[in-house]
């Protein structure tokens, strides 16, 4: 009986020393740049956004979305400048208008835990673009993190008859 009690006490002691193990990685671990349409929803066009990969192939990041007020775009880990091709397709005429948006940024490593995948945050330093369909782009929040609630860029489009 005494041996049983001592064993139970030792087991309790061991359990006390084994701390609960949990992995505290953020639920939303994707670092994305949020672009908000400054004039409300994009209603007259469908939008496709692509970029050029390291091997010169295109990668579609956003595919033919419409009636949206914002989009989220990934940013590269190592490049100093990312180029995004915004392809606007008119819903009625089916005409394509393509604008190029270049985002210059710094890449800052971010550490949560050894259990979480390596992450890079970005600091937007400059934005340039062509003006075929896009009128202006304003930097609203230069910190690109996994908090996608605050828009990083505000994109204003030209009026249809401009």
């Amino acid at each position: 009986m005494r041996k049983t009690v001592i064993n139970a006490l030792l087991l309790t002691l061991a359990a006390a020393f084994v701390a609960c193990s949990s992995i505290d990685c953020p639920l939303n671990s994707r670092v994305m740049m949020t672009c908000r349409m400054g004039d409300g929803k994009l209603s007259s066009d469908t939008l496709t956004v692509s970029t050029t990969r390291m091997d010169d192939t295109d990668s579609v990041l956003v595919n033919r979305v419409c009636d949206i007020d914002s989009i989220m775009l990934p940013m590269s880990y190592v490049h100093e400048c990312d180029s995004f091709y915004f392809d606007f397709k008119d819903k009625v005429t089916k005409a394509h208008v393509i604008d190029t948006v270049r985002v210059t940024k710094t890449n800052v490593p971010h550490f949560e835990s050894v259990d979480c995948n390596p992450m890079l945050f970005h600091e937007i330093t400059k934005v340039s673009h062509t003006t075929h369909r896009i009128a202006s782009i304003e930097t609203n929040n230069s910190h690109v993190t996994y908090n996608t609630q605050i828009a990083n860029l505000i994109i204003r489009l030209k009026e249809d008859n401009e």
């Binding site: 701390a19 490593p109 550490f111």
Partner: protein
Amino acid sequence: MNKTLIAIALGLALSAPSLHAAPGTGDKDATKQKKDSVALFRGVSVSADMVGLAQLAFSDYGQYEAALRVNLRDKFFPIVEVGLGKANAENATTRITYKTSAPYFRVGMDLNMMKNKHDDYRIYLGARYAFTYFEYDAFSTGVKDPVWGDAGDYNISGVKCNYHWLEASVGVDAKIFGPIRLGWSVRYRKRLSNNDGDYGNTWYVPGFGKQGGTRLGGTFNVIVEI
């Protein structure tokens, strides 16, 4: 060995109602203790923690820790604990390596809760203030960009951080032979303030354990009491 087990049992029984119960309702004069006449200074003890060594041997982090404790009337035990916390952890899945090595310090007091203060066994309740200033490195090679396809290095180096925390301690120790005592303690750590640096979080904090608001820990001490 038996004394060690008894010491462990005594500590676990600390929460038992019998030890917290008020004195009996019998004749107060009969239970009244004689005035304690021992000297204020009863000696000093030095101790080393074995749990930290075991952690270093069997896990990715751990600490070397020693303590100097003064015995006042066998009741009050002011204590200073000094340690060197080390981590060298690599996660096989994320391939991130985290390294740190830094000293930490604790200062506080233990109270002997035994009714007979001069017994070979002691049950302690204690509190500590602790702090550490440390730097960490986190790095990974060949981090592949899932969209663009490039591979780059992920390197965070020499991030200066600090942690300040309080510890509540419950422990026991027992005289084994001569000046040698063995004992253990369970620690509840509560962070007071921290600076995690400019790159997000820390992971292992020397003396505190894995970063967070609170942490449970423990020590198993080999003590030499003079």
